[in-house]
């Protein structure tokens, strides 16, 4: 019980603490923020969609129960959005939220706990036939209750350390209960929230426009008069848009070359923000195919990689940079560099690692010049440079690798069928949180493309998920990491993506985070001229 009390104190302290004081200019009111969006929203219902093409243009119309602190560069601190405060029961099984009063939907009606319950019921317990993309991340939830108009309670089946942060998910827009009661699919084609901007128009394939909500509950915000999202699929056209000052920013990310060309062309008119990105390319090795069923072979493949040298060189041409373990560097659960170097393939002595790799291959009966096919995704960044780098590294331990590029649309079916020996795998997260990032390595996961079966991983995953003591959780995470990347080498991580946002220096009040799904409400953003 004492450990829960400790956690409770920590969470309350985070929740109630005022945002850190920031030495910054006084926000200026007015102006229209124009930003490029490389993808388009399939529908407008974030509960069921998976692409940032929904979040970027649509998020400013909505609030969520909690949100990630907009100025926190780690993107891991939950703060209240529609929730004013909360408490967690000592057993970690009940979360009670006090809801802000005076929040109105854009149609003028009051927002109450009933709307939050209806939205979360749609996310966690969707009716048959209705898709909810992140439903499985709320398996611990037994019920969502609204005991009075300004209280929401979540009852859990078991304590879950990631639960609070998962409630800050940028996908969990709060919808109006009355609308959902009439038509659960209404939000697929319509917009009506409580957010800082109201909906003006969406011209398919062209642009999305929002204007300032004059009745926004957070008095004094938003600063902008409105925003305009331009859908631009070509990366060169996105760069041209920023360079030609047709757009202030693109929130997903640019390549190092784009950053350099923009900086060179516009000088001080461009501000660059960079962050480790919660996206990573991994190598999946098919455990049902020989010789990749042998962990010595898999270990040899990871030992061959000189990640530190690659970090220096590839970061100049590709959207990758840091050498990392199972969590984004700089975030609470990241592997300390000293510990990372102890894992197979992370040693700074590449000569020794490759000698060990060659020995393991010999021991496993893999002849020198052994050939296999590496299947890569037909997308330039960062798949192509990483693919070429991997092939070069494996050649240095005597392996002969043929790369096969799989067209982007046929790529997932190929992975799911297990139609590969070794293939590029990828993952992008919306919040850096072990539960969300590591679920894919559990034996029964749909993303276990290598088809490994490992009860130890399954147990460690569950233990870390339910550990409420931070140190205890860290211990399980390190054990899981060692098992996954070193002892069994079920997968191998390449380099952490690097998010690069060169934007007009006029844009203020926006802070980069490791996820391109976060910080898109635009309530804190303003234009200096």
């Amino acid at each position: 019980m004492r450990r829960y009390a400790g956690l409770l104190t920590l969470i309350l302290a985070v929740a109630l603490a005022a945002p850190p004081a920031r030495a910054q200019e006084k926000p200026r009111y007015g102006g229209e923020l124009i930003f490029a969006v490389p993808s388009q929203p399939p529908s407008y219902d974030a509960h069921q969609e998976e692409t940032f093409g929904v979040i970027h243009p649509v998020a400013p119309h909505y609030n969520t129960l909690l949100r990630v602190e907009p100025f926190d560069r780690t993107g891991t601190k939950p703060v209240g959005d529609l929730a004013e405060s909360w408490t967690i029961a000592k057993d970690g099984l009940t979360y009670t939220f006090k809801i802000r009063r005076g929040v109105k939907f854009h149609d003028g009606s009051d927002m109450t706990s009933r709307d939050i319950k209806a939205s979360y019921d749609k996310i966690i317990f969707p009716p048959p036939g209705l898709k909810s993309s992140r439903r499985t991340t709320y398996q611990a939830v037994e019920a969502v209750e609204a005991p009075d108009p300004y209280t929401v309670r979540f009852r859990l089946k078991w304590p879950e350390s990631s639960f609070l942060l998962n409630l800050a998910s940028p996908w969990n827009f709060i919808y109006k209960a009355d609308i959902l009661a009439k038509d659960m699919r209404w939000y697929e084609r319509n917009v009506m929230g409580t957010g800082p901007f109201t909906f003006v128009e969406y011209v398919k394939g062209s642009h999305w426009v929002g204007k300032k909500n004059p009745n926004y509950w957070d008095k004094g915000k938003p600063y902008l008069d409105g925003y305009r999202a331009l859908f631009i699929s070509s990366s060169s056209a996105q760069v041209a848009a920023v360079r030609g000052e047709r757009a202030h920013i693109q929130f997903r990310g640019f390549t190092p070359a784009d950053r350099d060309s923009l900086k060179q062309a516009l000088g001080d008119k461009i501000t660059v923000q960079e962050s480790p990105w919660d996206c990573v390319l991994m190598v999946a090795m098919n455990h049902t195919r020989k010789p990749f069923d042998d962990k010595r072979v898999r270990r040899a493949l990871t030992l061959a990689l000189d990640r530190y040298e690659a970090s220096k060189n590839l970061s100049r041409i590709a959207i990758v940079r840091d050498v990392a373990g199972i969590q984004v560097p700089g975030t609470p659960w990241a592997t300390p560099p000293a510990e990372l170097e102890k894992l197979a393939g992370y040693s700074r002595d590449i000569g020794k690692s490759r000698a060990e790799a060659k020995r393991l291959l010999r021991e496993a009966g893999v002849p020198d010049g052994f050939a296999f096919t590496f299947k890569n995704r037909g997308i330039p960044q960062p798949y192509e440079p990483i693919g070429i780098w991997l092939i070069d590294q494996w050649r240095q331990i005597g392996l002969n690798v043929k790369q096969e590029i799989v067209e982007a649309s046929a790529y997932h079916p190929m992975l799911k069928r297990g139609d590969f020996e070794v293939a590029m795998d990828f993952a992008c997260g919306f919040i850096v949180e072990p539960d969300l990032d590591l679920g894919r390595f559990v034996t029964s996961s749909d993303a276990n493309y290598g088809k490994h079966q490992d009860k130890v991983i399954d147990e460690l995953y569950q233990k870390q998920a339910r550990a409420v003591d931070a140190e205890e959780r860290r211990k399980y995470l390190r054990a899981l990491e060692k098992r996954l990347l070193d002892e069994e080498v079920h997968v191998m991580y390449t380099l952490q993506w690097n998010r690069i946002i060169p934007h007009s220096s006029k844009v203020k009040g926006w802070t980069i985070t490791p996820a391109h799904y976060l910080n898109n409400m635009l309530d804190t953003v303003w234009l200096s001229e």
């Binding site: 388009q40 929203p41 399939p42 529908s43 969609e49 998976e50 692409t51 940032f52 036939g129 898709k131 993309s133 499985t136 697929e188 084609r189 011209v203 398919k204 394939g205 062209s206 642009h207 305009r228 331009l230 859908f231 631009i232 699929s233 070509s234 060169s236 056209a237 041209a240 848009a241 360079r243 030609g244 000052e245 047709r246 757009a247 062309a265 996206c279 067209e407 982007a408 649309s409 046929a410 997932h412 079916p413 190929m414 799911k416 795998d425 990828f426 993952a427 992008c428 997260g429 894919r440 996961s445 749909d446 993303a447």
Partner: protein, 317 residues
């Protein structure tokens, strides 16, 4: 002539049916699945249960022949269904893009025709002089220059020299003609130049051939002034092959400007086509192919009518 036109008109329907059958089954053979692609998003994994749920929603769990007949019956009634990617009616997806692509096609055709016919005629009349050589170099350069490359050059020049970029959002002509012109003139010029090169060379060679015909010599012999010889007898007859080239290029432009649309960020049919294929949005692809091929067929039919008007041999057949 009526019999000829009726025959051409009736031929349109089996052609469209052939296109419909081909595109429907071709899309089913191509690997990839709209549901899986859409649901995978950036996360990269989605449960089989959710995938199956969506397949049922789109009717993809039904036998292929049943899906085909349902779709064909809708297409016959001009109801192409809804996009499997966005859930929006196909008409809504295509409407604005069609208007934009049509306008670019018309503007590029105007640019091409305004350049090609005078240049082709002058080049033929001044055969093997420096004027002819200049026109030939100009047109060969046009053939050798991809329009998207020229588009990139335009954009870079505008950005570097004038620190200006054309508008990136389409404004319909009737809303703001000047903004509309500022956005579309650049792609129209980039596409129109290559298009004009094809038409210039065709005009030149057709004029050269016609100018050597007996009836031109007869027209000159009976004392007709050169201007009338050229306009009434030579140009009109030389226009037959030029017309075919211009018409086919025009039809192609409707859905074929994929890269140029990307370069100028034009929200046109070409880009929509590529997105639909990448997303395996079956219903949208099928509708787009039918519309573009229908447009091709109608343009061809219009050319047949013009041929009949221009060439008495067809008219009196």
């Amino acid at each position: 002539m009526w019999k000829y036109l009726l025959k051409r008109f009736l031929l349109m329907f089996p052609t469209l049916l052939g296109v419909a059958v081909l595109i429907f089954f071709l899309m089913r053979v191509v690997p990839g699945d709209v549901v899986e692609i859409r649901m995978s998003g950036d996360r990269g994994a989605v449960s089989e249960e959710i995938l199956q749920q969506e397949r049922v929603r789109f009717g993809l769990d039904r036998p292929v022949w049943e899906q085909f007949l349902t779709w064909l019956w809708g297409a016959v009634r001009l109801d192409f269904g809804t996009s499997m990617w966005t859930g929006a009616p196909i008409g809504e997806e295509i409407k604005l893009r069609f208007a934009l692509s049509m306008q670019v096609a018309i503007m590029a055709t105007l640019v091409a025709v305004l350049l090609a016919i005078p240049l082709g005629v002058i080049s033929a009349l001044k055969q093997d002089t420096w004027v002819d050589y200049v026109v030939r170099v100009f047109s060969i350069a046009g053939l050798a220059t991809p329009s998207f490359w020229l588009g990139i050059v335009f954009i870079l020049l505008l950005l570097i020299v004038f620190k200006w970029l054309p508008p990136m959002v389409y404004t319909p002509f009737w809303v703001d003609p000047w903004q509309n012109f500022l956005q579309l003139i650049w792609p129209a010029l980039a596409v129109g130049y290559r298009y004009s090169a094809v038409a210039t060379r065709m005009t030149r060679s057709a004029m050269l051939e016609v100018l050597r015909e007996d009836y031109i010599r007869t027209a000159r012999a009976k004392g007709l002034i050169e201007k009338l010889v050229l306009s009434r007898h030579a140009l009109k007859n030389a226009m037959l092959p030029v017309l075919a080239v211009v018409a086919l290029e025009f039809a192609f432009l409707l859905g074929g400007l994929v890269v140029t649309e990307q370069v100028f960020n034009l929200n046109g049919l070409g880009l929509l086509f590529v997105q639909a294929v990448a997303q395996r949005d079956y219903t949208l692809i099928q509708a787009l192919v039918l519309i573009v091929s229908g447009f091709f067929i109608v343009v061809n039919f219009a050319v047949d009518i013009l041929y009949a008007w221009l060439d008495p041999r067809i008219r009196f057949r």
